[in-house]
Symmetry: C2
Subunit: 404 residues, 2 copies
């Protein structure tokens, strides 16, 4: 008999957001009259903006005639998009990143999940605690995490870096040396940002200790403060130690469009092995390029009109973030995030656990959030609300919470 990948069987329960979706669906079915407000999963709600819609229609039209039809895209992305990204997201910020170091994909989640394949099974990963579950789960599936302790919620071979109120939710450098360090700033789920000088210390640490940083910058569009870096490549030396993952989901609202990219600089080498070439080989072998239609939509995000429209989306959600942040604070909640991030990270009241508060909010206020403990043991006692709803729903959710 064939054998399955037993690492899959070690995963406790299902993917966090699948669990929440099932709970909410069950509640909705049992209470068809209740109007549920969803501030749980980080999914946007505003429509695509007119310049993006125009680009999509125009690309669809190109697919309708033989002269302009596009079949397989180049594995790594169309040059028009890769060059635009290199210029606008990197050169414009003084970062040395070239078009052929940019790998266009169907999104940051796929890339976050697949990137670990480039590394040996013996590599030890370090993650923030709490953390976006994909980093850990994808390494569990690859057998890098050891055994799971259901009592503590920790994997034996993962290096956890606590993000707590005490350190402002920015982890300290690990005491044990990891091989791979996952960092996400502005952070999901805590909404915390990192200063440039703090990030530089991580880059220096990685270079000194032979680590790779996988830097998830999916939320960079929400940065509002000056000394917060938009890219890890704003730090000196990052080209030799850091991979960066970017998304069009949270800035341009592409959660249902599926477009992202990953930067693997050519300086990232382990002996003779080039991570850049390995990632290119992975794309060539197990992926077939992002759709032309979606890459044209991505390009449209960088025109003057496109930029302006996207800024409007980000401002829209950030107004929600401020509203929720201020409202909860006003009610006496302890609240974090929301300044450089669309996420509000709040302390659960009255010593409730995260899941108790989830149920309480769902049942009593019909508001869906995400239990902090779903992101890791140090998330226990916290709860994530997103600013991705409508303004009306953000206000309504606040009112419902106020009246509890």
């Amino acid at each position: 008999m064939y054998k399955v990948n037993e690492n899959y069987l070690k995963l406790p329960g299902s993917y966090l957001f699948s669990t929440i979706a099932k709970k909410v669906a069950a509640f909705a079915e049992a209470n068809p009259d209740k109007k549920i407000i969803r501030l749980g999963i980080g999914d946007v709600t505003q429509p695509l903006t007119p310049p993006i819609i125009a680009a999509l229609h125009s690309a669809v039209d190109e697919m309708a005639s033989a002269e302009t039809f596009r079949g397989y895209a180049p594995d790594l992305g169309y040059a028009f998009l890769r060059e635009t990204i290199a210029r606008e997201d990197f050169a414009a910020r003084g970062c040395e990143i070239y078009a052929d170091e940019i790998f266009v994909s169907d999104g940051a989640k796929s890339d976050s999940g697949n990137i670990q394949e480039l590394f040996d099974g013996s590599c030890r990963i370090a993650v923030c605690d709490p953390v976006y579950p994909v980093y850990v789960d994808s390494n569990v599936m690859a057998g890098r995490t050891g055994t799971y302790d259901a009592a503590t919620g920790y994997w034996s071979d993962v290096i956890y870096m606590p993000c707590t109120e005490a350190n402002g939710f920015v982890a300290e450098l690990p005491k044990e040396r990891p091989d791979i360090i996952y960092l996400c700033f502005p952070n999901n789920p805590t909404g915390a940002a990192i200063r440039r000088d703090e990030l530089q210390r991580w880059v220096d640490y990685a270079n000194e200790n032979g680590c790779v940083i996988i830097y998830d910058a999916a939320y960079e569009a929400y940065i509002s403060e000056e000394n917060v870096p938009h890219s890890v490549y704003e730090c000196e030396g990052a080209r030799s130690c850091a991979i960066e993952i970017r998304s069009f989901s949270k800035n341009a609202g592409f959660t249902g469009v599926r477009l992202g990219y990953t930067v693997v600089p050519k300086d990232l080498k382990c002996g003779n092995a080039s991570l850049h070439d390995m990632w290119a080989r992975r794309h060539g072998t197990k992926y077939n390029g992002a759709p032309y239609i979606m890459q044209k939509a991505g390009e449209a995000c960088y025109t003057e009109e496109g930029r302006k429209s996207i800024r409007g989306l980000v401002e829209f959600y950030m107004k929600n973030a401020r509203t929720i942040y201020d409202g909860l604070k006003d009610m006496g909640y302890t609240v974090y995030g929301g300044v450089n991030s669309p996420y509000i990270w709040l302390k659960t009241p009255d010593g409730m656990t995260s899941w108790e508060f989830f149920d309480y909010l769902l049942e009593r206020a019909n508001v869906v959030g995400t239990p902090g403990s779903g992101f890791g043991p140090n998330g226990e006692g916290f709860f994530r609300l997103t600013a991705f709803g409508s303004y009306e729903n953000s206000l309504a959710a606040l009112e419902r919470i106020r009246s509890l």
Copy 2:
């Protein structure tokens, strides 16, 4: 220092079609006046049909207003598409496959490359020789294939099943027991089809020997003969031993749209481990759903109008296939495929190797094909031409070859 996945470094050269693309690009640059006809990579050239274009435009419009905007798709695909597929591709052919056994994805290549993750590192794979390179390369990357012998072109731990003129390019059952058997019918690259009774023998073998069949049916739309199965689930017992991979690329011309699906029946179990649940977990963790816009285009393939338009595409390419097949035969070439498949598999003339014939055709006729040896040692001495060009180009390529 971190360690990389050394299995990647074992891969000889680059992905076959990337190599060809580079060779052709170099030739084109050196010979800007030469009009190259590309019958190499299996990429379609006809535009998307009007019903598909209409569905794309309409879905784009839905993304433009908050009421109809769609964010993250369900991990496994929208119910509207999964239900349509279950009804039209399976129930209509008498196959017992349910909507929740269908996993919508961004294409058959991704699924072919990722599916091996579900299995243990010790599993032995069996592949046809010649073979679509993704099956082997993705297993190389996962460390299942042993060492590569450059002299023979074989991996030490792969079970090769020769597909030759003698067996009509339909492999015989392997002498050694594999864990995972990759089958692709109608076959890429040889264009061979398998009869239902022959496929039933494979299903029986897999059930008796505890193997999983990964059945790639990407070309099923090209089947023109009665006794050739469109799905492995036309065979009795396939639900307990077979995974099927399907594509919208070759029937509806979605190579640049990116949509496919994989069927993992719930009966596919290894002890308590359900491959269905494992694949669902992979989708949930490392993938974020196919875009709504593309799934609506997929649904449009099944309307009466959509079906009719797609049939037109397939007939268009099959006319090319017949033309190339008959033309080459007429010139004295030994030719296979082309009846249930858009691929023509021809013997290279005058004892040329596959790559010699590739260069000869590129330089002398400016026609691009695919060297058979790129698909495996038993492909040596053969060459693949695709019917995916225009009719004019198919004719022109023939004329050029005739005048050599």
